[in-house]
Symmetry: C2
Subunit: 220 residues, 2 copies
Protein backbone atom coordinates (compact mmCIF):
# COMPACT_ATOMS: atom_id res chain seq x y z
CA UNK A 1 0.00 0.00 0.00
CA UNK A 2 1.67 3.21 -1.11
CA UNK A 3 5.32 3.96 -1.23
CA UNK A 4 7.90 2.08 -3.21
CA UNK A 5 7.93 -1.66 -2.67
CA UNK A 6 10.27 -2.18 0.20
CA UNK A 7 12.40 -5.27 0.53
CA UNK A 8 10.51 -8.30 1.66
CA UNK A 9 11.43 -9.98 4.92
CA UNK A 10 10.09 -12.76 7.08
CA UNK A 11 8.95 -10.13 9.54
CA UNK A 12 6.97 -8.22 6.95
CA UNK A 13 5.43 -11.42 5.61
CA UNK A 14 4.28 -12.55 9.04
CA UNK A 15 2.97 -9.13 9.96
CA UNK A 16 0.97 -8.92 6.75
CA UNK A 17 -0.40 -12.42 7.26
CA UNK A 18 -1.64 -11.53 10.75
CA UNK A 19 -3.17 -8.38 9.34
CA UNK A 20 -5.13 -10.27 6.72
CA UNK A 21 -6.31 -12.93 9.16
CA UNK A 22 -7.42 -10.27 11.65
CA UNK A 23 -9.21 -8.24 9.04
CA UNK A 24 -10.83 -10.89 6.90
CA UNK A 25 -10.44 -14.22 8.66
CA UNK A 26 -8.21 -17.19 8.17
CA UNK A 27 -10.04 -18.17 5.03
CA UNK A 28 -8.96 -14.97 3.33
CA UNK A 29 -5.33 -15.67 4.05
CA UNK A 30 -4.02 -17.28 0.88
CA UNK A 31 -0.58 -17.15 -0.59
CA UNK A 32 -2.04 -15.04 -3.36
CA UNK A 33 -3.80 -12.55 -1.10
CA UNK A 34 -0.71 -12.34 1.05
CA UNK A 35 1.45 -11.65 -1.97
CA UNK A 36 -0.97 -9.02 -3.22
CA UNK A 37 -0.90 -7.29 0.16
CA UNK A 38 2.87 -7.08 -0.11
CA UNK A 39 2.82 -5.97 -3.74
CA UNK A 40 4.55 -9.09 -4.89
CA UNK A 41 3.82 -12.49 -6.38
CA UNK A 42 2.96 -15.71 -4.53
CA UNK A 43 6.19 -17.53 -5.26
CA UNK A 44 8.29 -14.73 -3.85
CA UNK A 45 6.97 -15.55 -0.39
CA UNK A 46 8.56 -18.95 -0.44
CA UNK A 47 11.92 -17.42 0.21
CA UNK A 48 10.85 -16.50 3.71
CA UNK A 49 8.62 -19.43 4.61
CA UNK A 50 9.00 -22.96 3.39
CA UNK A 51 5.29 -23.59 2.96
CA UNK A 52 1.93 -22.48 4.23
CA UNK A 53 1.98 -24.86 7.16
CA UNK A 54 5.14 -23.30 8.47
CA UNK A 55 3.56 -19.90 8.01
CA UNK A 56 0.66 -20.94 10.21
CA UNK A 57 3.02 -22.29 12.87
CA UNK A 58 4.80 -18.96 12.88
CA UNK A 59 1.53 -17.07 13.19
CA UNK A 60 0.54 -19.06 16.27
CA UNK A 61 3.89 -18.36 17.87
CA UNK A 62 3.54 -14.71 17.00
CA UNK A 63 0.24 -14.56 18.83
CA UNK A 64 1.74 -16.22 21.89
CA UNK A 65 4.47 -13.63 21.83
CA UNK A 66 1.85 -10.93 22.31
CA UNK A 67 0.65 -12.38 25.62
CA UNK A 68 2.06 -10.83 28.80
CA UNK A 69 4.66 -13.13 30.29
CA UNK A 70 4.06 -13.86 33.96
CA UNK A 71 6.93 -12.78 36.20
CA UNK A 72 8.49 -15.70 37.98
CA UNK A 73 9.35 -13.78 41.11
CA UNK A 74 5.87 -12.41 41.81
CA UNK A 75 2.78 -13.58 43.65
CA UNK A 76 1.41 -16.56 41.76
CA UNK A 77 -2.21 -15.46 41.88
CA UNK A 78 -1.48 -11.97 40.64
CA UNK A 79 0.76 -13.21 37.86
CA UNK A 80 -1.48 -16.01 36.68
CA UNK A 81 -4.43 -13.67 36.71
CA UNK A 82 -2.66 -10.96 34.77
CA UNK A 83 -1.38 -13.27 32.09
CA UNK A 84 -4.77 -15.00 31.79
CA UNK A 85 -6.53 -11.71 31.22
CA UNK A 86 -3.87 -10.82 28.71
CA UNK A 87 -4.15 -14.17 26.96
CA UNK A 88 -7.87 -13.74 26.64
CA UNK A 89 -7.48 -10.24 25.24
CA UNK A 90 -4.88 -11.31 22.73
CA UNK A 91 -6.81 -14.37 21.59
CA UNK A 92 -9.96 -12.33 21.21
CA UNK A 93 -8.01 -9.89 19.05
CA UNK A 94 -6.89 -12.76 16.82
CA UNK A 95 -9.89 -15.05 16.81
CA UNK A 96 -8.41 -17.27 14.13
CA UNK A 97 -5.51 -18.27 16.37
CA UNK A 98 -7.46 -20.78 18.43
CA UNK A 99 -8.50 -22.77 15.40
CA UNK A 100 -4.85 -23.03 14.50
CA UNK A 101 -3.72 -24.11 17.94
CA UNK A 102 -5.76 -27.22 17.59
CA UNK A 103 -3.98 -28.40 14.47
CA UNK A 104 -0.42 -27.25 15.05
CA UNK A 105 1.57 -29.46 17.34
CA UNK A 106 5.02 -27.98 17.08
CA UNK A 107 5.32 -25.10 19.54
CA UNK A 108 7.55 -22.17 18.64
CA UNK A 109 10.04 -20.34 20.86
CA UNK A 110 7.57 -17.77 22.23
CA UNK A 111 5.16 -20.55 23.09
CA UNK A 112 7.82 -22.49 24.96
CA UNK A 113 9.01 -19.40 26.82
CA UNK A 114 5.44 -18.75 27.82
CA UNK A 115 4.83 -22.25 29.15
CA UNK A 116 8.09 -22.15 31.03
CA UNK A 117 7.18 -18.89 32.76
CA UNK A 118 3.76 -20.17 33.79
CA UNK A 119 5.19 -23.37 35.22
CA UNK A 120 7.86 -21.35 37.04
CA UNK A 121 5.32 -19.03 38.63
CA UNK A 122 3.21 -21.91 39.89
CA UNK A 123 6.15 -23.87 41.25
CA UNK A 124 7.53 -20.80 42.99
CA UNK A 125 4.05 -20.19 44.36
CA UNK A 126 4.21 -23.41 46.32
CA UNK A 127 2.32 -25.75 44.05
CA UNK A 128 3.53 -29.33 43.95
CA UNK A 129 4.42 -30.69 40.54
CA UNK A 130 1.14 -32.51 40.35
CA UNK A 131 -0.91 -29.51 41.46
CA UNK A 132 1.02 -27.36 39.00
CA UNK A 133 -0.10 -29.67 36.24
CA UNK A 134 -3.69 -29.49 37.43
CA UNK A 135 -3.66 -25.74 37.89
CA UNK A 136 -2.13 -25.01 34.53
CA UNK A 137 -4.46 -27.38 32.72
CA UNK A 138 -7.53 -25.93 34.41
CA UNK A 139 -6.64 -22.28 33.92
CA UNK A 140 -5.69 -22.73 30.30
CA UNK A 141 -8.70 -24.88 29.56
CA UNK A 142 -10.83 -22.08 30.95
CA UNK A 143 -9.09 -19.33 29.01
CA UNK A 144 -9.09 -21.21 25.71
CA UNK A 145 -12.61 -22.45 26.16
CA UNK A 146 -13.93 -19.04 27.04
CA UNK A 147 -12.40 -17.50 23.97
CA UNK A 148 -13.74 -20.35 21.89
CA UNK A 149 -17.23 -19.64 23.16
CA UNK A 150 -16.87 -15.94 22.49
CA UNK A 151 -15.73 -16.68 18.97
CA UNK A 152 -18.66 -18.96 18.25
CA UNK A 153 -21.35 -16.68 19.61
CA UNK A 154 -23.70 -15.85 16.78
CA UNK A 155 -23.92 -12.28 17.97
CA UNK A 156 -21.69 -9.42 19.04
CA UNK A 157 -23.97 -7.28 21.09
CA UNK A 158 -27.37 -7.40 22.72
CA UNK A 159 -28.82 -5.78 19.60
CA UNK A 160 -27.89 -8.51 17.20
CA UNK A 161 -28.58 -11.13 19.85
CA UNK A 162 -32.20 -10.19 19.56
CA UNK A 163 -32.45 -10.77 15.86
CA UNK A 164 -30.46 -13.96 16.01
CA UNK A 165 -32.59 -15.41 18.77
CA UNK A 166 -35.74 -14.68 16.83
CA UNK A 167 -34.47 -16.22 13.65
CA UNK A 168 -33.30 -19.33 15.46
CA UNK A 169 -36.56 -19.82 17.26
CA UNK A 170 -38.48 -19.62 14.02
CA UNK A 171 -39.20 -23.06 12.79
CA UNK A 172 -39.62 -24.55 16.21
CA UNK A 173 -42.94 -25.19 17.86
CA UNK A 174 -43.57 -22.47 20.43
CA UNK A 175 -42.93 -23.91 23.87
CA UNK A 176 -39.95 -25.92 22.73
CA UNK A 177 -36.81 -24.81 24.48
CA UNK A 178 -38.52 -22.94 27.30
CA UNK A 179 -35.30 -22.43 29.26
CA UNK A 180 -33.51 -21.11 26.23
CA UNK A 181 -36.32 -18.63 25.73
CA UNK A 182 -36.25 -17.56 29.37
CA UNK A 183 -32.51 -17.19 29.20
CA UNK A 184 -32.61 -15.17 26.02
CA UNK A 185 -35.39 -12.80 26.96
CA UNK A 186 -34.72 -12.37 30.67
CA UNK A 187 -30.95 -12.30 30.58
CA UNK A 188 -29.22 -12.03 27.23
CA UNK A 189 -31.50 -9.38 25.86
CA UNK A 190 -31.32 -7.23 28.99
CA UNK A 191 -29.65 -3.84 28.56
CA UNK A 192 -26.20 -4.31 30.03
CA UNK A 193 -25.59 -7.86 28.90
CA UNK A 194 -22.16 -8.69 27.53
CA UNK A 195 -20.91 -12.25 27.43
CA UNK A 196 -17.28 -11.26 27.70
CA UNK A 197 -17.86 -9.55 31.01
CA UNK A 198 -18.20 -12.96 32.64
CA UNK A 199 -14.59 -13.83 32.03
CA UNK A 200 -13.09 -12.46 35.20
CA UNK A 201 -15.82 -13.89 37.41
CA UNK A 202 -14.99 -17.38 36.27
CA UNK A 203 -11.28 -16.79 36.40
CA UNK A 204 -11.47 -15.63 40.00
CA UNK A 205 -13.69 -18.53 40.92
CA UNK A 206 -11.10 -20.92 39.55
CA UNK A 207 -8.16 -19.11 41.14
CA UNK A 208 -9.93 -19.15 44.51
CA UNK A 209 -10.51 -22.85 44.23
CA UNK A 210 -6.90 -23.46 43.27
CA UNK A 211 -5.64 -21.34 46.14
CA UNK A 212 -7.67 -23.41 48.56
CA UNK A 213 -6.03 -26.61 47.31
CA UNK A 214 -2.60 -25.23 46.67
CA UNK A 215 -0.79 -27.73 48.78
CA UNK A 216 -3.33 -30.46 49.00
CA UNK A 217 -5.30 -29.15 51.95
CA UNK A 218 -8.90 -30.17 51.49
CA UNK A 219 -11.47 -27.62 50.29
CA UNK A 220 -12.67 -25.24 52.97
Amino acid sequence: MGGPTRQLSRERVLRAAIGIADAHGLGALTMRSLAAELNTKPMSLYHYISNKDELLDALVDGVFAEIDLPVVGGDWRTEVRRRSVSARTVLARHPWALALVETRTSPGPATLRHHDAMLGVLRAGGFSLEMTAHAYAIVDAYVYGFVLQEASLPFDSADTANAVADSIMDGFPAGDHPHLVEFATQHVQQPGYHFGAQFEFGLDLILDALAARREGLAGC
Copy 2:
Protein backbone atom coordinates in the same frame (compact mmCIF):
# COMPACT_ATOMS: atom_id res chain seq x y z
CA MET B 1 -17.40 -50.80 0.50
CA GLY B 2 -18.79 -54.19 -0.53
CA GLY B 3 -22.31 -55.00 -1.41
CA PRO B 4 -24.35 -53.37 -4.11
CA THR B 5 -24.49 -49.61 -3.99
CA ARG B 6 -27.45 -48.84 -1.80
CA GLN B 7 -29.58 -45.78 -2.29
CA LEU B 8 -27.97 -42.60 -1.07
CA SER B 9 -29.57 -40.62 1.72
CA ARG B 10 -28.73 -37.62 3.84
CA GLU B 11 -28.19 -39.98 6.74
CA ARG B 12 -25.67 -42.10 4.86
CA VAL B 13 -23.87 -39.03 3.59
CA LEU B 14 -23.52 -37.55 7.06
CA ARG B 15 -22.47 -40.84 8.59
CA ALA B 16 -19.80 -41.33 5.95
CA ALA B 17 -18.57 -37.78 6.42
CA ILE B 18 -18.15 -38.30 10.16
CA GLY B 19 -16.36 -41.55 9.45
CA ILE B 20 -13.85 -39.88 7.16
CA ALA B 21 -13.23 -36.99 9.54
CA ASP B 22 -12.72 -39.37 12.46
CA ALA B 23 -10.40 -41.61 10.53
CA HIS B 24 -8.31 -39.17 8.56
CA GLY B 25 -9.07 -35.69 9.85
CA LEU B 26 -11.13 -32.80 8.59
CA GLY B 27 -8.64 -32.12 5.86
CA ALA B 28 -9.32 -35.50 4.29
CA LEU B 29 -13.02 -34.78 4.08
CA THR B 30 -13.56 -33.51 0.57
CA MET B 31 -16.58 -33.84 -1.62
CA ARG B 32 -14.57 -36.20 -3.76
CA SER B 33 -13.38 -38.42 -0.94
CA LEU B 34 -16.88 -38.47 0.47
CA ALA B 35 -18.30 -39.48 -2.88
CA ALA B 36 -15.69 -42.20 -3.29
CA GLU B 37 -16.51 -43.60 0.14
CA LEU B 38 -20.12 -43.88 -0.94
CA ASN B 39 -19.27 -45.33 -4.35
CA THR B 40 -20.68 -42.36 -6.14
CA LYS B 41 -19.58 -39.11 -7.76
CA PRO B 42 -19.14 -35.72 -6.11
CA MET B 43 -22.10 -34.03 -7.72
CA SER B 44 -24.50 -36.68 -6.54
CA LEU B 45 -24.00 -35.52 -2.99
CA TYR B 46 -25.52 -32.17 -3.73
CA HIS B 47 -28.96 -33.67 -3.70
CA TYR B 48 -28.68 -34.25 0.02
CA ILE B 49 -26.70 -31.22 1.11
CA SER B 50 -26.79 -27.83 -0.49
CA ASN B 51 -23.07 -27.17 -0.11
CA LYS B 52 -20.10 -28.09 2.00
CA ASP B 53 -20.80 -25.44 4.60
CA GLU B 54 -24.18 -26.91 5.29
CA LEU B 55 -22.55 -30.32 5.53
CA LEU B 56 -20.22 -29.01 8.23
CA ASP B 57 -23.10 -27.45 10.15
CA ALA B 58 -24.86 -30.80 10.07
CA LEU B 59 -21.76 -32.59 11.30
CA VAL B 60 -21.46 -30.32 14.31
CA ASP B 61 -25.07 -30.89 15.20
CA GLY B 62 -24.58 -34.62 14.78
CA VAL B 63 -21.76 -34.53 17.29
CA PHE B 64 -23.88 -32.61 19.79
CA ALA B 65 -26.56 -35.23 19.37
CA GLU B 66 -24.12 -37.84 20.67
CA ILE B 67 -23.67 -36.06 24.00
CA ASP B 68 -25.75 -37.33 26.94
CA LEU B 69 -28.59 -34.94 27.59
CA PRO B 70 -28.79 -33.86 31.24
CA VAL B 71 -32.09 -34.77 32.87
CA VAL B 72 -33.97 -31.70 34.00
CA GLY B 73 -35.51 -33.35 37.03
CA GLY B 74 -32.27 -34.60 38.57
CA ASP B 75 -29.66 -33.24 40.94
CA TRP B 76 -27.88 -30.43 39.14
CA ARG B 77 -24.40 -31.47 40.16
CA THR B 78 -24.87 -35.06 39.10
CA GLU B 79 -26.43 -34.11 35.80
CA VAL B 80 -23.96 -31.41 34.88
CA ARG B 81 -21.11 -33.70 35.78
CA ARG B 82 -22.43 -36.60 33.75
CA ARG B 83 -23.09 -34.55 30.67
CA SER B 84 -19.70 -32.82 30.96
CA VAL B 85 -17.88 -36.12 31.09
CA SER B 86 -19.94 -37.27 28.14
CA ALA B 87 -19.26 -34.09 26.20
CA ARG B 88 -15.56 -34.49 26.74
CA THR B 89 -15.66 -38.13 25.62
CA VAL B 90 -17.64 -37.32 22.51
CA LEU B 91 -15.50 -34.36 21.54
CA ALA B 92 -12.35 -36.39 22.07
CA ARG B 93 -13.78 -39.03 19.75
CA HIS B 94 -14.38 -36.40 17.08
CA PRO B 95 -11.44 -34.07 17.55
CA TRP B 96 -12.29 -32.16 14.40
CA ALA B 97 -15.59 -30.99 15.84
CA LEU B 98 -14.12 -28.26 18.03
CA ALA B 99 -12.43 -26.56 15.12
CA LEU B 100 -15.78 -26.43 13.42
CA VAL B 101 -17.63 -25.05 16.41
CA GLU B 102 -15.53 -21.97 16.23
CA THR B 103 -16.57 -21.09 12.70
CA ARG B 104 -20.18 -22.25 12.57
CA THR B 105 -22.60 -19.87 14.18
CA SER B 106 -25.94 -21.40 13.29
CA PRO B 107 -26.77 -24.04 15.89
CA GLY B 108 -28.77 -27.07 14.80
CA PRO B 109 -31.70 -28.71 16.59
CA ALA B 110 -29.62 -31.10 18.68
CA THR B 111 -27.43 -28.23 19.80
CA LEU B 112 -30.42 -26.15 20.85
CA ARG B 113 -32.01 -29.07 22.69
CA HIS B 114 -28.75 -29.57 24.49
CA HIS B 115 -28.42 -25.97 25.61
CA ASP B 116 -32.01 -25.92 26.73
CA ALA B 117 -31.53 -29.00 28.90
CA MET B 118 -28.41 -27.59 30.53
CA LEU B 119 -30.09 -24.31 31.33
CA GLY B 120 -33.09 -26.17 32.69
CA VAL B 121 -30.99 -28.30 35.01
CA LEU B 122 -29.18 -25.30 36.44
CA ARG B 123 -32.34 -23.26 36.93
CA ALA B 124 -34.10 -26.18 38.60
CA GLY B 125 -31.00 -26.61 40.75
CA GLY B 126 -31.55 -23.23 42.33
CA PHE B 127 -29.19 -21.07 40.34
CA SER B 128 -30.31 -17.53 39.63
CA LEU B 129 -30.44 -16.50 36.01
CA GLU B 130 -27.17 -14.67 36.39
CA MET B 131 -25.44 -17.52 38.18
CA THR B 132 -26.79 -19.91 35.57
CA ALA B 133 -25.08 -17.86 32.91
CA HIS B 134 -21.85 -17.89 34.87
CA ALA B 135 -22.00 -21.58 35.66
CA TYR B 136 -22.78 -22.64 32.11
CA ALA B 137 -20.10 -20.42 30.66
CA ILE B 138 -17.48 -21.67 33.10
CA VAL B 139 -18.28 -25.36 32.77
CA ASP B 140 -18.40 -25.25 29.01
CA ALA B 141 -15.29 -23.15 28.75
CA TYR B 142 -13.53 -25.77 30.82
CA VAL B 143 -14.83 -28.71 28.81
CA TYR B 144 -14.09 -27.14 25.44
CA GLY B 145 -10.74 -25.84 26.52
CA PHE B 146 -9.68 -29.13 27.99
CA VAL B 147 -10.53 -30.97 24.80
CA LEU B 148 -8.74 -28.30 22.82
CA GLN B 149 -5.62 -28.86 24.87
CA GLU B 150 -5.86 -32.61 24.50
CA ALA B 151 -6.19 -32.21 20.76
CA SER B 152 -3.15 -29.99 20.49
CA LEU B 153 -0.85 -32.12 22.61
CA PRO B 154 2.06 -33.18 20.45
CA PHE B 155 1.96 -36.65 21.98
CA ASP B 156 -0.49 -39.40 22.77
CA SER B 157 1.28 -41.35 25.46
CA ALA B 158 4.24 -41.05 27.80
CA ASP B 159 6.33 -42.92 25.23
CA THR B 160 5.97 -40.43 22.43
CA ALA B 161 6.09 -37.57 24.93
CA ASN B 162 9.68 -38.50 25.55
CA ALA B 163 10.74 -38.26 21.95
CA VAL B 164 8.81 -35.08 21.36
CA ALA B 165 10.29 -33.37 24.38
CA ASP B 166 13.79 -34.24 23.27
CA SER B 167 13.26 -33.02 19.74
CA ILE B 168 11.75 -29.77 20.97
CA MET B 169 14.54 -29.07 23.39
CA ASP B 170 17.14 -29.56 20.69
CA GLY B 171 18.12 -26.23 19.30
CA PHE B 172 17.77 -24.42 22.60
CA PRO B 173 20.67 -23.61 24.86
CA ALA B 174 20.72 -26.06 27.74
CA GLY B 175 19.36 -24.30 30.81
CA ASP B 176 16.71 -22.46 28.88
CA HIS B 177 13.24 -23.44 29.98
CA PRO B 178 14.28 -25.00 33.29
CA HIS B 179 10.72 -25.36 34.52
CA LEU B 180 9.61 -26.98 31.31
CA VAL B 181 12.43 -29.47 31.68
CA GLU B 182 11.56 -30.20 35.29
CA PHE B 183 7.94 -30.62 34.35
CA ALA B 184 8.71 -32.92 31.45
CA THR B 185 11.20 -35.15 33.19
CA GLN B 186 9.72 -35.26 36.69
CA HIS B 187 6.07 -35.37 35.77
CA VAL B 188 5.10 -35.95 32.15
CA GLN B 189 7.60 -38.71 31.56
CA GLN B 190 6.72 -40.57 34.76
CA PRO B 191 5.16 -44.01 34.27
CA GLY B 192 1.45 -43.45 34.89
CA TYR B 193 1.14 -39.99 33.34
CA HIS B 194 -1.88 -39.32 31.20
CA PHE B 195 -3.04 -35.81 30.52
CA GLY B 196 -6.65 -36.79 30.05
CA ALA B 197 -6.83 -38.18 33.57
CA GLN B 198 -6.80 -34.63 34.90
CA PHE B 199 -10.17 -33.85 33.44
CA GLU B 200 -12.36 -34.94 36.32
CA PHE B 201 -10.16 -33.30 38.93
CA GLY B 202 -10.68 -29.92 37.33
CA LEU B 203 -14.34 -30.54 36.68
CA ASP B 204 -14.96 -31.38 40.32
CA LEU B 205 -12.95 -28.37 41.45
CA ILE B 206 -15.16 -26.16 39.33
CA LEU B 207 -18.39 -27.84 40.41
CA ASP B 208 -17.39 -27.49 44.07
CA ALA B 209 -16.72 -23.81 43.58
CA LEU B 210 -20.04 -23.33 41.80
CA ALA B 211 -21.92 -25.20 44.51
CA ALA B 212 -20.45 -22.90 47.11
CA ARG B 213 -21.74 -19.84 45.27
CA ARG B 214 -24.96 -21.30 44.00
CA GLU B 215 -27.14 -18.66 45.49
CA GLY B 216 -24.67 -15.92 46.02
CA LEU B 217 -23.37 -16.96 49.41
CA ALA B 218 -19.73 -15.98 49.63
CA GLY B 219 -16.94 -18.52 49.25
CA CYS B 220 -16.49 -20.85 52.20
